[in-house]
């Protein structure tokens, strides 16, 4: 049995108890060590090897590689397709994340106010998140299909169009169309996070705001939103990483086309590695992307460490 000493008592009993606590703490490490070692090995090998490969020339006609300094980085940073894919990824990530947050918050507020059928409503809204990426991509391919697609059929029957629109072939529509699928897939995650956050807001605080004459909008902005701040930050960070790293939806729906309009960096890296067989350049592109994401992660860590005033 552990005897807890009173804080600052400085008695031998207190030191003994402190030693015991250190012992307890250390006792945990051997248990997690195997998992830590495995995860470190699994993660660090590709990480280190990618960095190593990014400084090597890897010609497609041989398996031999040789050191080529910063040539891969120079080639990547001067490749208009990479720069374009980076810009597309920024638009993709920002657009998707903002839409996810707004739609997720809207859906969460809606579900939170429901008195009946909250469970079924939550389950229904979560469905897109549960559906696999490949399944969702193919389902939306059919929805967008020019000849048989539901979307074109709706537009035509509403007399909004006279000719079918080929959304995924259009230089204008392809990116928004593919982004919409991504938003449809990821917004439910934001909803469930915000819903959990909303349910943690003390009811009496909201009631008190109401008694003080605050409108529902004001009560949301002044009372609920401050409580949700940390949830919003965490959700937006997770979604930013998730959206930045998307691969499957554009790969299946458009293969990056037309004319690279939907080519995001993940697809670019895949194409450079597995179509062009230029593993060195693909590794350099991966490192550039990793640096961007690391900068973002540092900002994320900073924002999390700042505790909002008045909120536990």
């Amino acid at each position: 049995m552990t005897t807890l000493a009173e804080p600052g008592s400085g008695t031998p009993a207190a030191f003994g108890s402190l030693r015991l606590r250190w012992g307890e703490r250390l006792a945990g490490y051997p248990y997690v060590l195997p998992a830590v070692l495995v995860v470190t090995a699994v993660m660090s090998y590709p990480f280190v090897y990618s960095i190593y490969l990014s400084f090597r020339a890897t010609p497609s006609y041989t398996t031999r590689t040789h050191f080529n300094g910063l040539a891969n980085y120079h080639a990547v940073l001067h490749d208009p397709i990479f720069l374009h894919s980076l810009l597309t990824t920024v638009i993709w990530t920002a657009g998707s994340t903002i839409a996810d947050l707004l739609l997720g918050m809207g859906a969460a507020l809606l579900v939170d106010r429901l008195r009946w059928f909250r469970g079924p409503a939550r389950a229904a809204l979560m469905l897109p998140y549960i559906v696999g990426y490949v399944v969702a991509s193919y389902a939306w391919l059919w929805l967008y299909q020019a000849e048989y697609g539901l979307l074109n059929d709706l537009l035509a029957s509403s007399h909004l169009i006279s000719r079918p629109i080929s959304f995924l072939s259009s230089l204008t529509w392809a990116l928004p169309a593919v982004m919409l699928v991504n938003i449809w897939k990821t917004a439910p995650f934001a909803m469930i996070m915000f819903l959990a956050g909303l349910q943690a807001v003390p009811e009496q605080t909201v009631l008190a705001a109401g008694l003080d004459g605050a409108s529902p909008a004001r009560a949301f902005l002044e009372v609920k939103l401050p409580y949700l701040r940390r949830v919003i930050v965490i959700t937006s960070i997770v979604l930013t990483f998730q959206n930045f790293n998307t691969f499957t939806i554009p790969y299946i729906m458009t293969s990056g086309g037309p004319l690279n309009r939907t080519e995001i960096v993940s697809n670019y890296i895949y194409d450079v590695a597995f179509t062009n067989l230029n593993f060195g350049r693909a590794a350099a592109a991966s490192v550039v992307v990793m640096i961007i994401l690391m900068l973002f992660a540092i900002a994320y860590a900073g924002s999390l460490s700042r505790r909002p005033p008045g909120v536990v």
Binding site: S170, G256, G257, F274
Partner: protein, 455 residues
Amino acid sequence: MADAAYSRRQTLRTAGLGAAGLVMASALRRGALAAGSQDPMPGAAAVAGRLEAWDWSDAPYVPGEEAQADFYTKYFPSLYKNLKFSSTILGYTDMLPKLTVAWRASNRPDVARVAIAWSPQFVGADQCAEITEQELGIPFDQFLPGALLSVRRDGAGTGPLYGLPTNNEVMFLLYNKAIFSSAGLDPEKPPATWEDLAAYSKTIHDKTGNYGYGLCAAQNNGNTPFRFMPAAWAYGGQIFDELSPHPTWRTIGLGDQGTVAALALYNRMFNIDKSVQPSALSDNESNVETLFLDGKVAMCIDHPSFAQQVRQLKPDLPVGGAMVPSGPVRRAVVLGGSNIHIRATSTNKAAALALIRAYLSPYWNARLGTGAGSEASTAAARRSHEQGLLSKEIPFNDIVFKMLPYGVNVPLVAEGAQIWNAIVPQMIQEVLSGRSTPKDAASAAAGQVRELMAG
């Protein structure tokens, strides 16, 4: 006692006859599985150790998958009892990236069958073992000379072989006779030239509202150049110098007049006549096939396997078959198919050769080649009884055989996949999206190929 002795003799005779019957029945069953083939490796007991093979399947064609299953899980293992054999059948799109990584790591498999277009990267990277006529025991003049280019280093006309063709195929033109009739076209007179095809396409679209021709122009997709390059070649265009009897793969021809003319033809159909489906920029082969099966598209260029699918899925569709149209310079089609390779670092070449020998035996070469929606690669298999039976079941197989001599190779250089899957489709998309003229797009693509080849 006598009765008992008689009875024992009778019993023994009956038992002996029964056992002989069982052995014969078993032999007949084995014979049925191996019908038309002979044990390709006398002294099978000497083939031992481990062997792993990877193949790919053009799912969902059931007879092809059955043939692969029979060969890899029943026939070949039954020949070499001392061999620990394993096989994996991958999807077409999975095969290349997985094999690229596996062989770069000098890891499994020992044997792999890959599409012709992929061979140059493995051969060029010294990842494939040389195969000689003597060790294989099959004369190399059994194979189409053009197909052998793809298993030589740098696509050369002569020199050692680092793999062997397993099946060869060419595409052909399929058309919907009912739509032709509705458009006032003679259903027995398919377009003979690419100009005819564009004109027919316009007539069909103007008169019926259907799309005349199914255009594949998706980005990063091999389906796109498989349909475009026959048109470019017909007008005399080339990526390198592949139309030459002895291509060097050093001269870059992509910006030439032939390619420009073919791009202009595509532009006319897509942007001026609007006689092809508007989703062409994102459509691959499967998308066009769906439209063709549904009677929305009147003509398409496709694999022999698609004709089989049409017959299975839409037996009432009045489909005609014709050779791929010719142009002012020549008629041409992509020489497709697959090659089988042995990993250079494989430690069991004897077993790998045994597998290839079995695969290329007439019965299995015919059955597996046809099963892949293609044709057998060896002359012996193409003349075989099995091929004769299969050809009767395959629609338009006579057209495929007629088209084979017009086959032209894809770029047989290590950078071939990038040129074929990325640069050529990008060139087409530049034109169809209206961002470049045919001349500028062809010239830019030629520049990209030049830069790529310069390293």
